[in-house]
Every structure is written in structure tokens, then in C-alpha cells.
Amino acid sequence: MEKTLFKFIWRYSKRDQIILLILTAISFPFLYLSLDLPKTIINKAIGGKDVPEEIFGMTVDQIDYLLILSGAFLALVFVNGGFKFYVNVFRGQLGERMLRRLRYSLLARVLRFPIPQFKKVSQGEVIQMVNSEVEPLGGFIGDSIALPAFQGGTLLTILIFMFIQDWMLGLAAIALYPIQGYIIPKLQWHVNQLGKKRVRNVRVLAEKIGEAVSGIEEVHANDGARRILARFTERLGVIYDIRYEIFRRKFFIKFLNNFIAQLTPFFFYSIGGYLVIQGDLTFGALVAILAAYKDLSAPWKELLTYYQRLADSRIKYDQVIEQFDPQGIWPENYQMAEIEADFNLAGNVSAGNLSILDEESQPIVEKLSFDISKSEHIALTGPSSGGKDLVTILMARLLAPDSGQIVVAGKQLADLPEAATGRYMGYIGPNAFVFNATLKENILLGAMHRPISTEGELNEDLKNAQLSGNSLDDLGAEWLDYNAIGVDSDEDLQKRLIELLQVVDLDWDVYSMGLRSTLDGFDDDQLLEQILTARNKFREGLDKSDIANFVESFDKEVFNSNASVAENLLFGTPKGKSFNLENIGTNTYVSEILERVGLKEEFIRIGKDVASTMVELFADLPSDHEYFSQYSFISSEDLPEFQTLLARSERLGLENMAAEDSNQFLSLPFKIIPARHRLDLITEDIQKRILEARKLFAEEIGDELRDEIEFFEAGYYNRSSSIQDNILFGKIALDKANAIEEVNHLVTEIINQENLRPVIINAGLDSQAGLAGSRLSQSQRQKLSIARALLRRPDHLILNEATSCLDSGSQTLVMSNLLSEMKGRNITWALQRASLAENFDRVLVLSGGQVVEDGPFKDLVKKEDSVINDLLREE
């Protein structure tokens, strides 16, 4: 990275800056003219002196002359304005491009930091630097050369003009410049120092914020919020104080500047006025000079502001750059270099004399050597800080040893680019990270290293990327390395993904997620047909079994007592907000329909009964009791209001209550699920009328509301319901014991019969993993990461306690699956539990950073006092 801001600017935007300068230079004559013209207009056209009689061969009189000159003046304004516009846009683009380039280089560097560096610099600080700190640099870079050129040139032009009018006045104008030139830089130095301090402190704040968010569980569990807030207050206070100081000094400089600038007119009035009185200077000239001097203050101010921005930007640049050049930064070719087509790392691993030093240069690992052959299955075990994890990290080249070397398949590991280590090895650590994308995308990341096909021609976006020195890899091209995965079609890819899920014991989880997903946006009609067939088969199977009444199917003509009143009325799944449970009570269309079937009064009455039951049941509970959220139709905050409404209805009678009061009761009946709540309020008569309302609702629904609901229709797939609900096409009878288990059992049977299992697993793969994989449990995240590494069939699979969160049954299964999957290839696995080492060809026991035992499991346990026996006893 260029060491100073101006070196950076010059190296990458030289050409554009020169163009900008030229444009600026061209605009000057026009500027000069626009300064000169007023004088001519006033003295000649209006004053009447030296009016030319002919212009371009046409005869003119004084008025014509005046008009022509005024027109010329207007034209010049237009031209100057045009220049300004074009130059501004050009300048802005230039600045943005450079900012983009700067940000990209910083990010590319972050990706080359040695991993231990991330112990010293936090996520918050990096984000702060790349996002906020360099932001103003963009604007400045655009201005960096053109602005001083323009403003300086303007200044000079005006001064020259003034000098031409009268050299004494010219002198008067610049008389005080030297004083300003001396004082202001001195004051500015202080501001610079404060600026540096401010940047340092804002970074600390960013880091503290990141820390508070990451450790939020700890904060809550230890009631630490007040202390953290106090700490934030301290930080914000420091920043506030520095800022205040900066403002004071900065604006003092401006004030001083302005003050000195106003002294000069004093000279003009005195000296200039004297000259006019003496007749040495025309009145018009003095007026023009005064106007010009007023014009002078603008560029002078701009130059001062520029000077302050220059100082600030330099500091920002330096302070950012110094953070992005840490010791041990990976060389650029690690990141970018490609490898030959027939490259692989299938071969023996041989490590010699490895040593790693800690922060105080004390050895953690010293003279570590080991040999692993190409197709061996190796277990690494030992005490926690014995070094077994370091072996895996060193093998995967996530850390460079301080001395010693590793040779893999005859190649020096230290010389290989990440294209080699990241493709032909598969490393999974204990803190497997899952990205905020679908499960499928997360797995496929294991084989997306570079675009496979390149179009050749650069489109608009890539051209801009090139001008900013950004990556030319087209995100929209095909990145998936089908070759590495070992498939050549999408169907085979789907099959392979399901296989991988089975290997890592994730297939059942993804299957469940698939059942709960909606297939919204899916266009595959054949697939939807299959699910509808499953629906029919399910119903058939249900009728034949002895659990037939465990599911109440959806029937347009029948009231479903295991569904809510809302669902019964809508007979569909609400899509937007209009018909969801919160809003259905106040929806005008629904109200209308209820009135038409004569249910509105009934609903209000039922709502009142519900309210009084809720009050009866829950009024005595404390307001934060969990029953409110779990069981009550009315929240604890709303309960007092309903008590008032109930009292009012007792006094006045329901019919006599104000509409806005009685309508409050209207929303309550919708939540009733008769079979679950057993309130006995939805009588057969009311059920009949709800069915009428249902019919009317569907018939008369307008076009705009039509999109807010997806109706249940026999023979059609409901895109707003989950796959499971589509197969069920009804409600599970909640009052039948074990109903859920038994029904799910039957559903699974039908799905297997109809061969829908792969389809559903695929739907599950398309569900989102959430921020940092938050929708998955930690063990699911670990399994997903193993599948990701396995996808590209690496020559070496390296696991570092990668199954630490799996329960022991799952762990055993996954281990045995991985060992068979990697038959003939190397697996090296740092184990948490030494007893699992039995499953491997060879065991390396690491203690104190050394290999203390090496050999097959059964040989090592023969010795009574071996380290491995100690470990086994501890378990």
C-alpha cells in the first residue's frame, strides 16, 4: 500500500487528476471574462463612454450594446455553471473510484492477516476503519488536486485582475496574507493532534461495542448492563471532549481568517476612495474591485477549508494504513495465485522440527516432527494444551510455524497458495462458522473457489470494477467446481448432497426443516403434483388405519373444530398482514361479512364471554406471569381495559355500548380453537353461520385483498403452508393422546412410499441458516461444516475437535461414516475423547508440544503406564 495519501492519489488517479486540471484551466478565461464584463457594462454601455458603432458588421447604438453585453454576461454565467457541473461530477466519480479502490485493498489485506492477528484487532475496529474512517477520504481525493488548483487559480485570476486595475489596490488585497500563512498552520497542528486522538478513541469505542454484542449472554447472566453503559459513557465522554476541543480550535482558525479578511476592505475604502477622488481610478473600477474582493473571500475560505481537510485526511490515511500492515501478513500470491489443472495433494505428509512461539517468544511447540502417510487414518490425542490441535492447524496451513517445515506430497507447504491448501485439504475446527445463507449455499461454499467459466467480455459493472482496482471475478458466473465434487449434472449434485447429509447425520434434521418449509416460489408443477398425490394417499391411509379420527381434514362444507375460528372463516392461510390473527378482528372486509350473515352481534357477545372468562382466570396472576403469553387471549397490559369494558357492558347492556367499545370484544372469538379451549361458545348454529360467512368471504373478496390470502382448495397446493401441512390438509386432533406422534409416523410412511424424501430434504436445504447460523443448533452447525469440507473430496481431511458438540451416539455414527468415506485417503483427527482413537490406524499422543507416543492403539494400551492409558482412565 502506498505510504502516503498523495502517493496513493498520484499512483492510481494520475490521468484523471490531470484531465481535471485541464478542465479547470480551460474554465479560467471564462471566469476572467465574467469578472471583466461588469466593468465594461457599467462604464461603457451604461456610462456611455467609447460605445462601438459596429459589432461583427452590424450597426449598434448604446442600448443595443448594453443588451448585447448583458446577453454575453448571461452566456458566461451559463458557461461557467456548465463547467462547474461537469467538473463536479467528474471529480465526485474520481473520488468514489479511489475510495472503492482503497476499501478493496484494505479488505484484501484483511483476508491476508495471519489468523493470530485477529486476537489483537477486533471485528468492530476493522469495520470502523473500512467503513467509516475512510469515507471522507473519497470526497477529499476528488478535491485533492483540482480544488486547490481551481480555487488557487480563481484566487490568482481575481488578484491579477485587481492588480491590472490598480497595483496598489492589488497589494492592499494581499497585504495580510503572509500573517495568515504563518499563524494558521501553527494552530492547525494542534487540531491535527486532536484528530489523531479522536480516531484512536473512536476505534476503542467500536471495539467495545463489538465486545458487548458478542458477550451479550454474559452481560445478561451477570447483570452487567450498567457497568457496560458506564464504560460506554466514559468512552463517549472522552470522544465528546476531544471533539469539543477540535471544534473550538477549528472554528477559531476560521474566525481568525474571516476577521483578517475583513480588515482588507478598510484599505480599499481608504486608499481606493482616495484614488477615485483624485481621479486616478474610475468609479466603475473601484466598484468592480470591491465586487472582486468579495469574490476573493470565497476561494480563500475554500483554500483554508481545503488545508484543514488535507491535514485531516493525511492523518486518517496514515492511521488506517498502519493498521493494515501487520507483521506476518500472508504474501499476496497466497491469496491470488492459481494452480495447474492436474494439481493434487495426494501424498505423504512429513513435518520436521516445527516450532511455534507465543507472544513472549516462549516456545509452545518445539522440534515437533511427525510423518503421516497418504491413506492413513490418524488419531491425535493428548491433554488439552498438549498440541494436538496445533498439529491440525499447522497441517492445514492456518498458522505458519516459526521454524521447521512441512512437506505434503513432495511439495513445501509454506510455498503453496491457498488455492492448494484450501481445495485439496479439508479442515474443520471446533468453532465451525455457518454463514447467513441457505444450508445448501453453506455446503456448496466448500467447492466455490473461483469462477469456472469466464465470459471474456467485461460488462459495465466489471469495467467499473477494473477502474477501481477491484476483483474482476463475476459473482454471477458459475463458481461451483463440479469436477471436484465428482458430479456432472444438477440431479447428481442433489443426490450427492443428500449422501453427504447422511454421512454427517444431518439428513433427518434437514428433512424436518424441509417438512416445515413452504416451497413458495417453486415452479416445478410436477413436484407440486407429487405432493398432492401424497395428500390423497395420506387420506386413504388414514381412513384405513385405526387413527382415522386423529386428523380432521379440511372440507369446504364442514366446520373444523381443531382449527381456530379465524382459520375456519378464512379457510386459508393469511399471507400479508390484513388477515393475520392480530388484525383480523379489525379488518373491515371481515366485519362486513360477519354483518351480512348476522354474526357480528353474536361475535361481540361471544367475545364478551371470552373476555369475562379470561378475566376470571387470569386477573389474579402477576402481570409478568408466563400464562399470559402461553394461554390467555388477552395480554396482561390489556386485561384492566377489558375489565372496565366488561363492567360497562354489565351496566349499559351490550347493545347500548358505544361501537368502539363493543368492537373491542370482536377480536377475541377469532382465536378460539373449540377442541383445544373447550369454552363451549361456538355452538352448532354459530358454526353453520361461520360456514356461510366462509362461502361469502371467498366469493366476494376483491382483487387487492385476494393477494392477502391463500385458500385451502382440495386438489391444489397451498403455497403459504408448509409441505407437511399440505400433505396433512387438515388439523391434528389435539385431544387424541399421542396424536402428533402417530400422525407424523403415517406422514413419513407416505412420504417414503411416494419417494418424496429427496424432494423434502432439498426443500430443507433451501432454508435459511440465520445470522452466523443462529437458526441451527451448535451440533448442526458443526455437522454442516464437515459436509462442506467433504464436498470437494479433499486428499486430506483434517478435523480439530470438530464434533465436540455432538452427542456421543451421533459422534460415533459420524466418525464411522467419515472413516469409510475417506477410505484410501488421509484423515487426521484431533480427538476430545481418547477412547475413540481405537477406530483409527494409528494414534499420535501429543503432550507438551511433542509427540510422546506413536503407534497403533492396541500397542499403546498394552503398556500399563502409557500416557494414553492415563487419558483413558480419566474419561
Partner: protein, 148 residues
């Protein structure tokens, strides 16, 4: 069965007899009404128990495992409670319970029960009275059996 009818049955259960009508209604509302089919087990001997079942309608058979196979030791009907010990202490089920014909029960989970007791401690006093009376009865039966 409607909530109110359930409360009527609950009132006939000695364990809950002195509890206020509204609290019983709350108990019923926050519990599950479950129907078991003929032959279905409510729970098996040895399982960890986390709920008591109040028979609302129908009959159940209580069975104990012996070397000769399961032996029916009691038949319970409407108003009887099974499994109440396990919502008070952590013991495995002492017997298996099977539905005889279709049975409607109210399943009161341990959590629901403890919630109710925590909110309305007067119920605990009633329960203690009931348990003390049972213990007394059991002691008397034991004395009788020993002196036989």
C-alpha cells in the same frame, strides 16, 4: 367436554376438592384434555413421570409387572386421579395404566401444577391436608396388616 364440566369432575377429586372454583378452571384451561383409545397406555411402569391424569370419562386399569406378567391391581373411573405422586416427587412410575374402552382424561403436567401452587399457596395447604389424611389411612392399614 367443556371446561365447566371438567371443573365439576375436578371438584369431586379429593385432592382438589377444597380448591376455589376459578383456580380449578385455570388448572383445567392450562391442561390438556386427552382421549385414549381402548388398550392405549397412559404411561408404563418404570418411566419417568411428569404428569398426573384425572379421569373425566371412562375407565382405566392399573397394572403391575410380576414374574407371571402384568397383573391388574385396580380399576379406576371418573373422578379418580393417577400419577399424582410423580407431580409431587421425582419417582419413576410405580405401575402401568391402560385405557379400558375409550377414556377421556385431563393431563396435568408437573410444571402446570407447580405453577398453580406457587401462585396460589392455599392450594398447597389443601393438598397437604389430603396427603396427610392418606398417610394416616395408610398407617392404619399397615398397623392392621401387621397385627394380622
Amino acid at each position: 367436554m367443556s371446561l365447566n364440566k371438567e371443573v365439576e369432575v375436578l371438584r369431586d377429586v379429593p385432592l382438589f376438592s377444597k380448591i376455589d372454583h376459578t383456580k380449578l378452571k385455570l388448572l383445567a384451561f392450562t391442561s390438556e384434555n386427552l382421549i385414549y383409545q381402548d388398550g392405549q397406555f397412559l404411561f408404563q411402569e418404570g418411566e419417568t413421570g411428569d404428569a398426573a391424569y384425572i379421569i373425566l370419562k371412562g375407565k382405566i386399569a392399573v397394572l403391575i409387572e410380576t414374574e407371571k406378567g402384568p397383573v391388574e391391581v385396580a380399576q379406576l373411573k371418573r373422578g379418580d386421579v393417577v400419577g399424582e405422586i410423580s407431580i409431587l416427587c421425582d419417582v419413576p412410575r410405580t405401575a402401568s395404566v391402560k385405557a379400558v374402552g375409550s377414556v377421556q382424561t385431563l393431563k396435568v403436567t408437573k410444571d402446570t401444577f407447580i405453577q398453580l401452587l406457587t401462585e396460589f399457596p392455599e392450594i398447597a395447604i389443601e393438598i397437604m391436608r389430603e396427603l396427610a389424611s392418606r398417610l394416616n389411612k395408610t398407617n392404619m392399614q399397615l398397623r392392621e396388616a401387621l397385627t394380622d
